[in-house]
């Protein structure tokens, strides 16, 4: 299942970020979640958008980007909700490269995004423990 995250290579200099965001919002596309991993000269902007294919066409050959399958697990937005999710993954020996979270439309709804070394097993083991995971379809709100 998994959801598609787009990773965009950006130069770490003034204007780089505003430019790419301008393109995306200009096309009426909603960014559901984002994070930036930064290094000295460059950064990787990771985004989950409401229309992945449209953003890919937009980025076209102006940007260096890639698609990555990531796991998005549903959780309640309250204290103690993340811990069981991490425990399940840990016990299944799933390696987490990075994670970030975003809130949902409901008042206590949140999602945590993981890049893991084994998407299939991660989803299986989360679902088996009653933790709901998202698909690309469920994002198209």
């Amino acid at each position: 299942m998994a959801i598609t995250q787009l990773s965009v290579f950006l130069m770490n200099q003034p204007g780089a970020l505003v430019e790419v965001i301008r393109s995306i919002s200009g096309a009426g596309i909603n960014i559901r979640a984002m994070s930036i991993a930064e290094a000295n000269d460059f950064g990787i902007l990771r985004i989950i958008v409401s229309d992945t294919d449209a953003v890919c066409s937009l980025l076209g050959d102006k940007y260096l980007f890639s698609r990555t399958d990531v796991v998005a697990a549903k959780m309640s937005d309250r204290s103690g909700a993340l811990y069981p999710i991490l425990t399940v993954l840990n016990e299944a020996n799933i390696n987490i490269e990075y994670m970030y979270a975003f809130t949902g439309s409901g008042s206590e709804e949140a999602y945590v995004v993981f890049r893991v070394n084994d998407v299939k097993t991660a989803e299986e083991v989360l679902n088996a423990n009653g933790i709901q995971t998202l698909s690309d379809e469920s994002l198209k709100l």
Binding site: S7, F9, F42, D61, L64
Partner: protein, 434 residues
């Protein structure tokens, strides 16, 4: 104090120098013809035999040698004697993956060291002096050359090599060095380091410096002289002509005297190969008159220069060359190391990159900075930060292995490297060298 290391030859009348050159040239052409099939073949293709070369006026008939020949002849193709007669190699950058290897017999080493000794005496050196040699030692000719010359003069020689500036300063002050030999940028760096440690120019015992291996301006000379409290002398040479010492400055500092008893100098048009009259700027070409193991005839240095044959007030009668004023190829000198952009291309292709790159050079605190920007292709792009950083480190390591110095690699998005009229600008050199 002696003014010349070898007064008889350094002040020899022009007729005597010409006599020596002609005598040596005939022997050398015969030596190359007999021992270097690669060059004999080049001569034969021009319909030449040693009998066609009767004097230095005939040198212009001989075929040129260049880096490309050294690359093709690697490693033994230009060797002029049996390996068992060779006692050393030195090496310098080639244009691609192959290095240039120069061979030396003991005789070649002696001649080379004599040339460096002349330079040291011209800078005021004698057996009373303490010479601190901070050129790199090893395959690079700088350290070994000045070291050998210093020995010949009888100076106390400090074989420091480059780097470890704190130790350089410690020895300089404690052992009271009087002559400093290193690259001009390292000299400037040492000057600043001394100041930072609280020393004034008059605190050190240095009286002179012999600087080379990279281009340096008159402005830089004045800065070094002021900061170290010395007179700064220029020296020139290349591995292909043994090393430093082919030419050196005397106290007049109006150009560098070429050791004409060992090297015949010509200035040519880099495009046509035509020999140009004295006073015209062109490419410097050297013919080694008495080297045995690596006897290069008409070697194109790619340095642009001009010759001055008017008499020098120092009394030396050997022709003077101006400071090199540019290159007729794309070679760069970075921290004293010769770098060809084509070497970088070789590495990029080998590491699986499309060679869309740009070299940016600048100078910070008297040291060259060396950055290489490389475009990443979409199929190489990874979502993981650690992967990209690993790619950068890996490329840095591969470049360091090829070049001998390590640039800082910056991976960039495709199409970000500036193009002017469709052709990418490969080198941005912000240093003011000439």
């Amino acid at each position: 104090m002696k003014k010349y290391y070898q007064p008889e030859i350094e002040t020899a009348p022009r007729e005597r120098i010409l006599e020596i050159q002609n005598e040596k040239l005939l022997k050398q052409v015969r030596h190359v013809w007999d021992n270097v099939p690669y060059y004999r073949d080049l001569m034969m293709r021009k319909g030449l035999t040693p009998d066609d070369i009767r004097s230095v006026d005939d040198i212009r008939k001989l075929p040129f040698l260049s880096k490309a020949d050294l690359r093709d002849a690697y490693p033994y193709g230009l060797l002029g004697t049996d390996l068992k007669n060779c006692v050393r190699i030195h090496s310098t950058s080639g244009t691609t993956g192959k290095r240039v290897v120069a061979f030396y017999t003991q005789h070649d080493i002696d001649l080379w060291e004599d040339c460096c000794a002349r330079a040291i005496v011209a800078a005021g050196g004698s057996e009373e002096d303490v010479v601190q040699v901070c050129y790199g030692y090893g395959l690079f000719t700088g350290g070994s050359g000045l070291h050998g010359g210093s020995h010949k003069v009888g100076c106390l020689t400090l074989p420091m090599s480059s780097g470890n500036t704190d130790r350089q300063i410690q020895f300089m002050m404690d052992l009271e060095s009087t002559i400093l030999c290193c690259t001009p940028s390292y000299a400037a760096y040492i000057g600043e380091a001394l100041k930072e440690q609280g020393y004034k120019p008059e605190d050190n015992k240095l009286k002179a410096g012999i600087f080379g291996a990279e281009p340096w301006t008159e402005e830089m000379r004045r800065e070094i002289e002021k900061s170290l409290g010395i007179k700064a002398y220029d020296i020139y040479g290349l591995t292909e002509t043994s090393g430093p010492g082919v030419a050196y400055e005397c106290e007049e500092q109006k150009g560098m005297h070429i050791n004409e008893d060992h090297f015949y100098a010509e200035i040519i048009d880099p495009d046509t190969g035509e020999v140009l009259p004295d006073g015209t700027v062109g490419e410097l070409v050297f013919t080694a008159l008495d080297k045995e193991a690596f006897p290069l005839l008409r070697y194109r240095t790619r340095d642009l220069c001009v010759l001055d044959r008017t008499p020098c007030s120092c009394g030396r009668t050997h022709v003077r060359m101006a400071k090199p004023m540019g290159r007729s190829d794309d070679m760069l000198i970075i921290r004293g190391v010769n770098v060809f952009p084509s070497q970088i291309e070789t590495v990029l292709l080998k590491e699986g990159y499309t060679p869309n790159y740009q070299i940016v050079l600048d100078r910070e605190r008297n040291t060259d900075t060396f950055d290489v920007y490389v475009e990443v292709s979409p199929d190489q792009f990874s979502d993981l930060m650690s992967q990209i950083q690993k790619m950068e480190k890996s490329l840095e390591s591969a470049l360091r292995t090829m070049l001998g110095i390590g640039p800082k690699v910056h991976l960039v998005a495709p199409k970000t490297i500036t193009r002017s009229e469709g052709k990418a600008v490969r080198v941005i050199d912000k240093r003011k060298l000439h």
